[in-house]
């Protein structure tokens, strides 16, 4: 599914975010990325959806090397990915439905399909009754659900989440995790960077720990593993 080979990432200011990282993630896996802040988790995530290019090494995603991918091919890559952020990144002045449909519009989905698919995704995240509400008026948990709906509406093969529960209270966070769990069960690969110890400990999924730019631990069924 996705394979990193000897990937290093240096930023122009000289900071080394990742050093010679090699890892392989199979289709259908659920992977937690853990580690201290600034250790390289976010860089790892950004490399996968090609916001950044690696300084060295290769990243193979569905037979394409992202390190050599041309800029104009990037949109096509991103249409196969779903991305979720801590700060949601929603259009605040638009309704739930418009936000989800947005992802379909910009990739040129035929109009008659857009409404049907967007509503289906919204129903899946449990917001069917709020599809006409502006996202600015929703709670944090609900906004994250909209974000999840937008991420999955294109049926991505890979869902990337960068601290999706970082801004949510524990109860709401569990609601989001349940969603991601269900999406994963339907076959979508999920990679999630997180600091949420309880969630990682309890879900017992694969855990990749990154420290100082290197993979320090990779367990098939692990826990968070750090003492705060």
């Amino acid at each position: 599914m996705i394979q990193l080979r000897n990937v290093s990432k240096m930023y122009p200011n000289g900071a080394k975010a990742l050093i010679d990282v090699s890892v392989r993630i199979e289709k259908g896996e659920f992977v937690f990325l853990v580690g201290p802040s600034g250790a390289g988790k976010s860089t790892f995530i950004r490399l996968i959806y090609r916001e950044e290019k690696p300084s060295r090494g290769s990243i193979i995603l569905s037979n394409k090397n992202l390190a050599r991918m041309k800029d104009r091919e990037v949109p096509l890559l991103r249409r196969k990915l779903g991305v979720i952020f801590q700060d949601f990144k929603l259009l605040q002045d638009r309704s739930v439905l418009e936000n989800v449909a947005f992802a379909l519009h910009v990739v040129g989905t035929p109009k008659r399909e857009i409404g049907i698919r967007a509503k289906k995704a919204i129903e899946l995240v449990g917001l069917a009754t709020k599809e006409k509400v502006l996202t600015a008026q929703l709670s944090g948990g609900e906004q994250q659900r909209v974000c999840v709906a937008r991420a999955i509406v294109n049926d991505p093969m890979l869902l990337i989440a960068d601290e999706p529960t970082g801004n949510l209270d524990p109860e709401t966070a569990w609601g989001i995790m349940e969603l991601l769990y269900n999406i994963n069960k339907r076959g979508t690969t999920v990679i999630m960077a997180t600091h949420a110890r309880e969630i990682v400990d309890q879900m017992q999924k694969r855990v990749i720990a990154i420290e100082a730019g290197k993979i320090s631990r990779d367990e098939a069924h692990g826990g968070y593993g750090y003492d705060v």
Binding site: P75, R79, H105, V106, V107, G108, N154
Partner: protein, 296 residues
């Protein structure tokens, strides 16, 4: 691009115009003011140029001939003047024509004047010489003066030199003002558009993340820039058009000696130019400003 995308791009454009009315209005105002300044300075330049040419075209060299000159000699002198490369036209004003004109000015007929002057026409024959370039008046005058048969040359020394200097300055000031205000309006407009795009960087970022192509992201900005530029340009054309007409009317009534350009075709061209320039600036400004945020 599919028709569904085209429709969506259009609705996005309208949405953004409605959502940021103040910013859209500010952009439109910027383009409006810039185009008014540009149009006004352009008309100033054209008029300065026209004024300079009018003043200059009134410059000519008068070569007075000897009183006792024969018709053959007159033709010889004419030939010598005509071959000078800087000379555009040579016109003979005979002593009789000169007298007739003099008489007309004085309100008397020719025979009466001759009688009053003692039976002799005291006026000499004269060549009126126009030069190809007004700047050459002095050179031509100096060369004509050396021809035998020419008694005296007049070209208004002491008037020509400062006048030529003045017209030269008038032209430079006109061009300078246009350049200055073109640069100023471009800076003003680009700041404004950058502000507009900056306020929507989040939207651009989201579009990039869900896989919109750069072209798709640019379109709404491009169309929006063009619409705003067009409205600003039309308002500017109206303002400049009515303003200039009013000014011309006022000037031709009060300062009758002042030459002003009043040409309907040219007028229309300038105003159309303002509208097109507004659209172009709006569209280009948006495209260039968006580019910065597409690097995600």
């Amino acid at each position: 691009m599919t028709s569904s995308s085209a429709g969506y791009i259009l609705s996005e454009t309208l949405h953004s115009l409605r959502r940021n009315p103040m910013l859209s209005f500010a952009s439109m105002l910027t383009i409006f003011v810039s185009m008014v300044i540009l149009g006004a300075s352009f008309f100033f330049m054209v008029n300065a140029n026209y004024m300079a040419s009018t003043f200059e075209s009134q410059l000519e060299v008068s070569a007075f001939l000897n009183q006792d000159i024969t018709p053959e000699d007159i033709e010889r002198v004419r030939g010598l003047i005509t071959v000078l490369p800087e000379v555009a036209s040579v016109e003979l004003v005979t002593k009789d024509q000169a007298l007739a004109q003099f008489g007309q000015n004085m309100g008397a007929n020719q025979s009466e004047i001759i009688e009053d002057l003692g039976g002799v026409n005291p006026l000499p024959d004269k060549f009126t010489i126009k030069t190809t370039d007004p700047q050459q008046v002095i050179t031509v005058a100096q060369q004509v003066e050396t021809i035998t048969g020419v008694k005296k040359v007049r070209y208004g020394p002491g008037v020509v030199e400062p006048l030529l200097k003045f017209t030269q300055w008038l032209r430079w000031i006109g061009v300078g003002i246009v350049i200055l205000f073109t640069v100023a309006s471009l800076v003003l407009i680009s700041i404004n558009i950058k502000l507009n795009v900056f306020s929507r960087r989040r939207e651009i970022q989201i579009m990039k993340l869900v896989g919109a192509s750069d072209t798709f992201i640019r379109w709404p900005f491009l169309i929006e820039g063009m619409i705003i530029g067009m409205i600003g340009g039309i308002l500017a054309a109206l303002t400049v058009g009515y303003g200039y007409n009013w000014l011309v009317e006022y000037l031709t009534m009060t300062l009758t000696f002042l030459p002003v350009v009043h040409n309907a075709v040219f007028f229309g061209e300038v105003l159309t130019g303002l509208i097109l320039a507004g659209m172009l600036i709006g569209a280009l400004g948006s495209t260039f400003s968006v580019r910065k945020y597409l690097r995600i």
